[in-house]
Structure formats: structure tokens, C-alpha cells
Symmetry: C2
Subunit: 110 residues, 2 copies
Amino acid sequence: MNIDDAAARLEALGNPTRLKIYRTLVRAGEEGLPVGKLQQRLDVAASTLSHHIKALVTVGLITQTREGVTLHCRANYPLMRGLIDFMVEECCAEGTCAPGGPVKLPREAA
Amino acid sequence: MNIDDAAARLEALGNPTRLKIYRTLVRAGEEGLPVGKLQQRLDVAASTLSHHIKALVTVGLITQTREGVTLHCRANYPLMRGLIDFMVEECCAEGTCAPGGPVKLPREAA
DNA sequence: TCTATATTTCGATTATTCTAGAAATACCGT
DNA sequence: ACGGTATTTCTAGAATAATCGAAATATAGA
């Protein structure tokens, strides 16, 4: 993943509503959720939701498949993994930030 | 880390210039870089750079310490680690996205 | 105190993003 | 073809963000 793609994906996740959409889909598991269910859970106008979903689809973080009259949305785990790999490899000191890894603090904590 | 803090930090990293600033600081290692060096490397107006650095400092991703006339900037690794942990824990399926972990693709890759 | 260097703040401009109502489209069942 | 549900596109307003030059501030040294 190049730095501009990474930035675009981070930006997509960097909006509270979109991050909640993504997290809700992850929690829904493998089969995902239709747009309508997302709307119920997140309490946002349909047009606004559609707008944010489109942003996530555009950068590849979620995928959609039409199933009859509903549109199922699913988190794209491999892409998220690629993004996390980018952050670990490009934005961390030698293994210092890898989750589950050692917690050698280079400086004081946040 | 709560979801709004995570979103704010992802948004901060979701701008190409800011992501480059952060990555440049990571690559500079433990001692970081003064603002002026960052400006040389990133080729951006001083006022624009200052603006972006401030955004990163505000969300805690970088720290600054004045050393005489220069201002040293350093990546805050523990905070980045916290952000990555958030993404793995809240935005990934059961261990599927942990870097270095197994690559069980839940669906087709990106 | 004066000068030089480093960096930020101010101010203004332009561009982008967020929001949501209304209208349009897509699909299915009858 | 019609009617109903699901979702998107259109449109527009308000809010936020990005950019950068000019002026201001901070620090050190002579």
C-alpha cells in the first residue's frame, strides 16, 4: 500500500460516523449488514449514511453486494489488515507498535 | 482509547502531508527532527507545516520540545500503538487483521 | 540592545466536507 | 404495469479545512 492510499483510507476512517459504520460492520461479522439495519443502529439520515458508505466503498474498506431489494455491506478485512501493516511498518519504530508485541516505551506514554 | 479519540487521530493521519510528516519523524528515530528539517524534506510553506504539526500535536501523535532556537518534534510511539490496538480490537475480526498473524481471508482480497 | 534564525500566528482565499430533505432509481411481488 | 420497500442521487446551505504570504514572537549571541 502506498502512502497516498493509506492516507485516503485513514481519512475515510477518521470521521466518527464512518468509523462507527465500519466498526458496526465488523461486529456484525462475516455476513455484514444491509444499509437499512445500519441506519437503525446509527441513527443518521439515509442520505447521509449513503454518502458515508460510498466514501468507505470508494477506498475499498467495505464491499457491497445486492441481495434482492437490500444492499449488504461487509468490512473488507484484508484491506484493513493491509492498512494496519502499513502503519506498523511505516509509522512505527522497530516493532515497538506491533499489537501484542513488547511494550518498550521509547518515551513517556500518552 | 475511545472511538472519538481514535477517529480524531485517524483523521489527523488521513492527510497526505501530515502522514508524511509523521512517517518522516518515525524514520528520523528517537531524537526526531526540528521543524526546519521537516520543512526542507517535505517542501511545504512554513506556515502550512506549522499548521499541520499543530494538528498532530493536538491529538497527541507527536510531541515537541524546544531546544534553543529550534523546536524538536518526535513521534509518540505509545500513542500510535494504542491507535493500532484500537483498530485491531475494534475494527478487525477475531485476530484476522493482527500484523504478523495468520492470513485467513474472510472474503476476497482488495 | 541589536541582529539573525526559527517558528508561529494572523488574515484572507479557495476548496472540501457534512448534513439532510426531496426527488429519483432499483428491485421485487402481485 | 403497479405498488411498496430500499437505497441513491440531486441540490443546497453551513461548517470546516488547506494553503500561503506577511507580520509577529521567541531565543541566542555579539
